[in-house]
Symmetry: C2
Subunit: 165 residues, 2 copies
């Protein structure tokens, strides 16, 4: 399992925004991200999990310098899109493990979550793809998280630098 992961990456220029209780119907995500794209806001992660009843939550991350402008846009479109409430936090960081073929290896995500749980690091957001698993954690815990992941996946020997930082 450990060989599948070839690197650990982290990014501290991260602010997360959570939009709560948006209508779960076609066109809502489009209205939100069209407004952000229109103002040239560079969105990194977009995460929406399963709905409950006819509402859903959508979270996304932007660079910290874009946070103020992003919140102005969210406030502007809030009524039109019917966003019940929203939250934000700029004291967060993204930590990721990267490697080809992770998705076919059921234990890799579990190992990553184990490494972070053993350091009492709370996972605020999670997103996975075939070659990368990313978690949002408190920025004060980012260094500890990166060290724990290097150790868990045996990458701490002579690793010159994180890949895809």
């Amino acid at each position: 399992k450990a060989m599948v992961v070839t690197g650990v990456a982290h990014d501290i220029n991260v602010a997360r925004i959570g939009l709560f209780d948006v209508p779960d119907k076609p066109g809502i995500a489009w209205q939100i991200f069209r407004s952000l794209a229109g103002e040239n806001i560079n969105v990194d992660m977009i995460i929406q999990s399963a709905m409950r009843d006819d509402i859903n939550d959508i979270s996304f991350t932007v660079g910290r310098t874009d946070l103020r402008k992003t919140l102005e846009i969210v406030e502007k479109i809030k009524d039109e899109v019917n966003i019940k409430s929203y939250s934000h936090d700029e004291d967060v960081a993204k930590v990721s493990i990267v490697g080809a073929g992770m998705v076919t290896n059921p234990g890799v995500a579990s190992l990553m979550f184990e490494a972070l749980a053993q350091e009492s690091i709370n996972l605020e957001m999670i997103s996975t793809s075939e070659i990368k698993i990313s978690c949002i954690v408190k920025s004060t815990q980012a260094e500890k998280a990166v060290r724990a992941l290097h150790k868990k996946f045996n990458l701490d020997q002579e690793q010159p630098c994180d890949c895809c930082s």
Copy 2:
């Protein structure tokens, strides 16, 4: 914008599970995915967006043939992990756009959501990475979604086959 996207992928062997109101504290994700990995369940997407108060929802997808066993495991760990409720749906499919450098292009996600919204396709889950944006939609709409995405990103000319299907 359109040139950044080099392919459209889809996967119909998808079942989604939503776990609702789990405690938002370190170790919960580990307990859930350790139990699934222990039974060799191959989890594809794991999605968790921002928490509210001290609870959070976690959604994930598995191959349809693993759904029954997955639900047995969720039912078994439900009380120990404190999962308030869960839902599942196997009539879903994953549609994705792929391409290098998408994340630095704010409009790409918005264009994808536009293409799907214009076909009245509801986005049930969303997950993004640097090179791929994936949405879970109803399986009855998967073909329509793939066609709309090919068209929106000008990929419908002589495209021999979807990449990374």
